[in-house]
Subunit: 295 residues, 2 copies
Amino acid sequence: MTTTQPRIAFLGTGLMGAPMCANLLKHGFTLTVWNRSPEKAQALAPLGATVTHSAAEAVSHADVVFTMLSNDEAVESMVLDPAILAAAHSGTVFIDSSSTRPATAKKLATALAEHQLQFVDCPVSGGVKGAQEGTLALMAGGPAALIESLAPVFSALGRLTHVGDHGAGQVAKLANQQIVAITIGAIAEAMTLVSRSGGSAAAFRDAIRGGFAESTILALHGERMINRHFEPGGPCKHQYKDLRNIQSQMALHHLQLPLTNAVTELFGELCEDGGAELDHSALLLQIERLNPKER
Amino acid sequence: MTTTQPRIAFLGTGLMGAPMCANLLKHGFTLTVWNRSPEKAQALAPLGATVTHSAAEAVSHADVVFTMLSNDEAVESMVLDPAILAAAHSGTVFIDSSSTRPATAKKLATALAEHQLQFVDCPVSGGVKGAQEGTLALMAGGPAALIESLAPVFSALGRLTHVGDHGAGQVAKLANQQIVAITIGAIAEAMTLVSRSGGSAAAFRDAIRGGFAESTILALHGERMINRHFEPGGPCKHQYKDLRNIQSQMALHHLQLPLTNAVTELFGELCEDGGAELDHSALLLQIERLNPKER
């Protein structure tokens, strides 16, 4: 540990936040943690974290403040809380690793700037496993020089890509979900074509493995479709929430994206028809529902 | 070479057929070849093939007859040519490795059965490279026992999967293309969301590599989109032909597949608007055309 390393506060030490904190500690950072349920923060004390009773107290000790919270409202009410704004010293960088709407990231950046505070939106992909192994994909939006200066912090957590200005990190996270959703739909429709034509969807999947149609989704979610194991995983309601945020972003820029529209509608119908809690690979059920078996 | 190995005739020794023949010879099969342009067949003589002047003559020496021809009409007029039907001895197995409509495969199976001849539809995936290396994905439709009995023949060419009854091999090949087309569309739409929101599509693609959105298409066609290199590769006109064959198959079974419909329309418009000869990754251009830049 060198004296030039920033002191870090981490607000929200849940499923994702806790292993991220463990990796920051492993890399020698001075870390102060806070969580709404204090026992989750307390679990990090044996690893070297200082646990505080209030978020503002954690922020007062920090040069860099991570937030990893459940949704836009939680992030906004935390970061723009007057007690937090008062506790942060000038120049502190807030890094929001939660998944939010891009507009929320822009709003936070603007509001913090008015208090001489800095902001980076940096949602992550890779799940709990990636958080534990320090192999998260970190998608950062904000000023290039600021993000570069934080390279040692990010490298404790995974692989950083600077995607663009404030909000661009959140757009990249949404666009990632957009590809996931449409690819799930592609496989569900292809399997339905095969099975309704009298072939075996399982044999079809075996046949095409490793070719041009290969994908992580064909490997993981394709297998769930074959086995009809639809326990989440990533539930349809979260996929649908992301797709609605994508629709908001499309509306903002007047974008027409026909496949995105079609898959949003399919997930919406599936959620309405009782599929909200199923894994998003259950989109197969919605495609099958559109196509009742003959006879 | 054992005496129990079937004697093989191969009709159509073009880009794909010639390396498939080379692998059959390498595995010790007795091979008779014929091609419309005789010089392409002649090139196989030094490897041990017997070259005939007529397709019927090749068939008269064979227990198994491969066809690898350009389209449905070429396959049908070849296999159902009275001279071929007369030359084939009872029980000969015709294996069509061309890509055709599933209905064509069923028609050939029925017509050949009337002459005590057998049929397997067995389109391939993996391109010239797969044909050369003997690593093609072979998708077979037809009777299980017949296909199992031909395992030594298929294993000279690649990895065989028995997908279902006659036509199911061709359905699997189409369904493979269906996934490819929709995945290309997914990436084109996601890149457009990112770039029109002010982010970098190239950085976005870097950020998501190796995650849930990873695919062969993201690796290969995603790179072409970033570099805007749209020389084929697989031209849009072929992709659109496959998608129209998929639409025929959907109509036959009254299938509603919304993403397939949307991507068929997009490729149709792209082909009409001058993109027919571009690589199918050029679907990005069609998505961009739907979304002219603001200002």
